[in-house]
């Protein structure tokens, strides 16, 4: 990772110097070692400050909508972020010629809360060491398995391959991860009884505080004005009122991104209440795959999404209602 970071810094400086781009969207060091923040770097010297380590979970593609309107922008995209980029291209939210994509290699981003949850206190630094993480604390060093500390979206990583790039750092690209188990939890929920599922979602969704972090972080939720914010839409709402509003919000949000969601996992990563929102999107992805054939949003930039498409032989809605009753 440190090698990659070094290469990225010098390469980005070079790109700014040679006029390939006038700014780079990348990650910047936060207050602590684990809270890197998306940022733009507009000079060669600033680019020396960009950070790339195992705490760069944020998907930068959405920033391009606003910041790549003018000039030429370079952006660092992890493999999973490239799907979002393609989807944004598909929907004409960004234009390819304005953007220089640097695909950065990734072998999983770390969730600091998972390390904390192991009972490790006073963490001052985390270093990668092969498959392990060396955690420095006020009370000495500890070594943990990186695999146990990954962000949810990285646990079920679907690909280490970049689906769009102008150059790759490092040069060798990864491959799709076939056995990613990303539908395991969806299947587990499906296997429950309807009552159990209801309880599960009731407990989870009632935590929602309607902060809109999931929506605002989502690279598919790119409406200029969300229906829930638009006083003229007839459905505007802010409350996390009694029982249904959060549910309505999340169903509608999932529906609006159905067939467009690339499963980048940002929604769950950013939720302050740790609601597993990705399970809603993955349900749609799973159903779309099963009913209409395998589809990965953002694999290319010219796909017609499954909900703006059809075949005359599509399954009837009864295919859902006739399923065995759990």
């Amino acid at each position: 990772m440190q090698e990659i970071e070094k290469t990225l810094r010098s390469r980005c400086a070079e790109l700014i110097n040679n006029g390939t781009c006038d700014k780079v969207i990348a990650w910047d060091r936060g207050e602590f070692f684990y809270d890197n923040s998306p940022a733009t770097f507009a000079c060669a010297d600033c680019a020396q400050k960009l950070v790339y380590d195992c705490f760069c979970g944020a998907n930068l593609s959405k920033y391009l909508i606003q910041y790549a309107k003018e000039g030429k922008t370079a952006v660092l995209l992890k493999p999973c972020d490239t799907y979002s980029f393609n989807q944004l291209l598909t929907e004409h939210r960004i234009s390819r010629e304005n953007i220089y994509v640097i695909g950065v290699g990734c072998d999983g981003m770390v969730d600091i809360d998972k390390i904390r949850a192991m009972g490790i206190k006073g963490i001052t630094a985390v270093k990668e060491d092969g498959e392990d993480l060396v955690v420095s604390t006020l009370y000495g060093e500890k070594t943990v398995k990186k695999a146990d500390c990954l962000l949810e979206k990285c646990v079920s990583c679907k690909s280490k391959k970049h689906y769009v790039f102008d150059e790759l750092i490092p040069e060798a690209d990864g491959e799709d991860v076939k056995e990613n188990g990303r539908f395991d939890m969806v299947e587990k929920l499906e296997a429950m009884t309807a009552e159990e599922r209801f309880e599960f979602w009731q407990e989870q969704l009632s935590k929602c505080i309607r902060c809109n972090a999931c929506r605002n972080a989502c690279p598919a939720c790119t409406c200029r004005k969300c229906v829930f914010d638009n006083p003229h839409s007839g459905v505007a709402s802010k409350a996390n009122a009694d029982s249904f509003e959060e549910k309505m919000f999340h169903i509608v949000r999932a529906f609006h991104v159905a067939g467009r969601c690339t499963d980048c996992g940002e929604c769950s990563r950013v939720c302050p209440q740790n609601i597993p929102l990705h399970l809603l999107n993955r349900k749609f992805i799973k159903e779309i795959n099963e009913f209409y054939g395998e589809y990965q949003a953002g694999e290319t930039a010219d796909q017609r999404g499954p909900l703006v498409n059809y075949t005359t032989e599509d399954a009837e809605p009864t295919a859902v209602s006739d399923r065995g009753d759990n």
Binding site: E91, H92, T222, C223, R224, K225, G234, H256, R304, V308
Partner: protein, 661 residues
């Protein structure tokens, strides 16, 4: 603030018997927004409409709710009423308290409660209605007739006669359809060919009519007044404009194994053929599946003998595209397949034939030269048995649930003709009912029974099977209540008729609705029987339902009149309930464009002023002339930038709220 008037119609007792109309009017009077509410016996009557007009003027109404029959019935009526009183016609909403309330409920309390809810929903909607102004679209002054049978020919002739261009697309190599195959027609017994062929010639010679035979409709785009139709001209392998129809090719063609379609496969024809002597156009066609030259690149005799040099073995299907203002469907019918009716031994016994096959056998130009013989051995039959309702009025699921309507009459005709020509032949008819409504029909049937001593047996046939040279018919005489085992020489099946299989495909292309039997649905079964609910699509002949020749001709003329009514207009008023894109909300994602069936949505880069932020944005723009108002785009649009005028998100949600209240 809206000022709404509510008008509750009794529809005589149709509504008033199960809905307390006065109470509905009373309750509605107290609803917020309502400034006037009343009830009246017949709102659609002139007096009823006057009440509405007066109320609009007197109470300065901004919108009205009419609680009455289905909007499919009288929405247009009340819109006009509103317009006459100076109110925008789209400020009218109908609460359907007849079809969807009074007619289906018996309990008056229940009916009244429901009527109030429906009225409230309509009120909730009308409160959000906005005046809409209909746009205009042009009319291409040319009609297309799909199908060149008597229905299509008649419609085309009538349209052409009024001075409009009209094209006929016929999938067979000749026009003429089923009628050209018939021998005589009931109840006059005049020769079918004698009355049809002059019309075929008229059609061919009329300079306003263009015939596309051996052609099929491939694709239809557009909408009323502006259809764009792609027509496939199938390869004939004979140049249509060069062939003289001399027939020399047919004389020489060595491939003689093709089934003669015109004679329903009762005999064979050559690979190059003219369907029948009076075919229009009188031009040969090569059956590529039979032609030795095309299959094996040998032979080529027809090319050699053709003095006109009309043969072209390399001909390909051609496509032409034409614009039309109106389309007439005249796709006709076929007898059903009998593969589910094994009890009649149709497949095994050549002497079991269908009525249409009998027409060809009786016809002088037919496979037997008009001589009635058994197809198995060419012998003269002495006893013929007709079986009625084969596949008609069938509730077993094998056939058709409807009455094919023409069978009783043509069977009487057949029986009479046979008895007339061959008095030695005994004729029996097994029937369920004999249906003879129609001018001179019953008289005709009685003649068959009384003058020609045709033996009508009320009862159904259970089985037909061969026994030696004969056939045995097992049936029941329901009047005598006895089993009948009857030995006969020929059995003629009055086979049910069904819409031509192409009808469904074409209806889909035309977005015309179709019923479960594949008959095209009419806009109204009584008041608009020759129009499809899809504007600009008209119905002629059996594609709409079983009918005989005079009815077909009458309907063909009626369809032509409707076409003329349309073509004579220079501009059409378009439906103003079309999609509208809110530029401030549009993300420019193109999803709506993907789902629009009419290509009505385009994208433009526009300078937008979004509350002070000025920027160029890619936004959707709806072509109102192309948009038909389905609303597919509105649901696809996540931001709600696309909305449908007349059925806005807010209006529909207001209805939902009112119902769930």
């Amino acid at each position: 603030m809206q000022r709404i008037g509510v008008f509750v119609c009794w529809c005589g007792s149709n509504i008033a018997a199960t809905v307390d109309v006065e109470r509905v009017a009373q309750v509605m009077k107290n609803e917020p927004g309502v400034v006037f509410s009343t009830d009246y016996q017949y709102m659609c009557s002139e007096a009823g409409q006057a009440i509405i007009r007066n109320a609009i003027a007197e109470h300065k109404l901004t919108g009205i709710v009419v609680c009455s029959c289905s909007p499919r019935m009288h929405e247009a009526t009340f819109r006009k009423t509103a317009q006459r009183a100076g109110l925008n016609p789209y400020m009218v909403e109908i609460a359907n308290i007849r079809e969807q309330c009074s007619w289906i409920h018996k309990d008056k309390e229940e009916g009244t409660e429901k009527a109030i809810v429906l009225a409230r929903a309509a009120l909730a909607k009308v409160m959000l209605n906005a005046p809409l102004i209909a746009g205009q679209s042009s009319v291409t002054k040319r009609a297309l007739v799909i199908g060149g049978g008597i229905a299509g020919i008649q419609s085309a002739l009538d349209i052409a006669d009024a001075g409009y261009e009209v094209d006929i697309v016929e999938k067979e190599p000749t026009i003429g359809g089923k009628m050209s195959k018939l021998d005589k027609t009931f109840p006059t017994l005049d020769c079918s060919a004698c009355i049809l062929t002059p019309k075929m010639v008229d059609a061919a010679q009329n300079e306003k009519i263009t015939l596309y035979t051996y052609s099929e409709v491939e694709e239809v785009k557009g909408f009323v007044g502006n259809f764009n139709v792609k027509i496939r001209r199938k390869a004939r392998y004979v140049k249509e404009d060069v062939c003289t129809g001399c027939g020399a090719c047919m004389q020489k063609c060595p491939s003689k194994k093709g089934l003669n379609e015109f004679n329903l496969g009762l005999n064979k024809r050559t690979a190059i053929y003219i369907p029948f002597a009076q075919a229009i156009p009188n031009v040969a066609v090569i059956d590529a599946t039979q032609c030795i030259k095309i299959k094996n690149n040998k032979c080529g005799l027809c090319d050699t003998v053709c003095a006109a040099k009309a043969i072209d073995y390399n001909q390909q299907d051609e496509f032409i595209e034409r614009e039309y203002g109106a389309i007439v469907m005249a796709t006709g019918f076929n007898p059903i397949k009998l593969d589910k009716f094994n009890e009649y031994s149709y497949a095994e016994c050549p002497d079991v034939i269908t009525s249409l096959e009998l027409e060809r056998i009786m016809n002088a130009a037919g496979p037997t030269g008009g001589k009635l013989v058994k197809m198995s051995n060419g012998e003269h039959p002495h006893d013929i048995t007709f079986i009625q309702c084969v596949g008609s009025r069938d509730i077993s699921g094998r056939g058709k649930c409807y009455c094919s309507k023409i069978c009783c009459m043509y069977t009487a005709k057949h029986a009479m003709l046979i008895r007339d020509k061959y008095p030695d032949v005994n004729v029996h008819v097994f029937y369920i009912d004999v249906r003879t409504p129609g001018k001179n029909f019953d008289e005709f049937y009685r003649r068959a029974v009384e003058e020609y001593s045709v033996d009508y047996i009320k009862g159904q046939v259970g089985k037909v099977y061969p026994e030696g040279d004969h056939l045995v018919v097992q049936g029941v005489d329901m009047l005598a209540n006895e089993q009948i085992i009857h030995k006969t020489d020929m059995v003629v099946l009055a086979t049910a008729i069904e819409p031509d299989p192409t009808a469904r495909k074409i209806a889909s292309m035309l977005t015309a609705s179709i019923d479960t039997n594949d008959f095209i649905t009419e806009a109204h079964p009584k008041l608009r029987p020759v129009e499809s609910p899809t504007a600009g699509i008209f119905l002629s002949g059996v594609c709409q339902g079983p009918k005989d020749i005079p009815e077909t001709v009458a309907q063909a003329g009626a369809a032509a009149v409707k076409v003329l009514g349309l073509l004579s207009k220079d501009k059409l008023v378009t439906n103003p309930c079309v999609s509208q894109s809110n530029e401030l909300l549009c993300n420019g994602c193109s999803m709506c464009q993907n789902v629009c069936p009419y290509g009505a949505i385009g994208y433009e880069d526009k300078l937008i002023n979004d509350h002070g932020i000025r920027e160029t944005r890619r936004v959707a723009v709806v072509n109102e002339a192309l948009c038909q108002g389905c609303g597919a785009c509105t649901v696809t649009c996540p931001s709600g930038a696309m909305d449908l005028k007349g059925f806005t998100n807010k209006q529909i949600m207001a209805e939902v709220d009112a119902i769930c209240k």
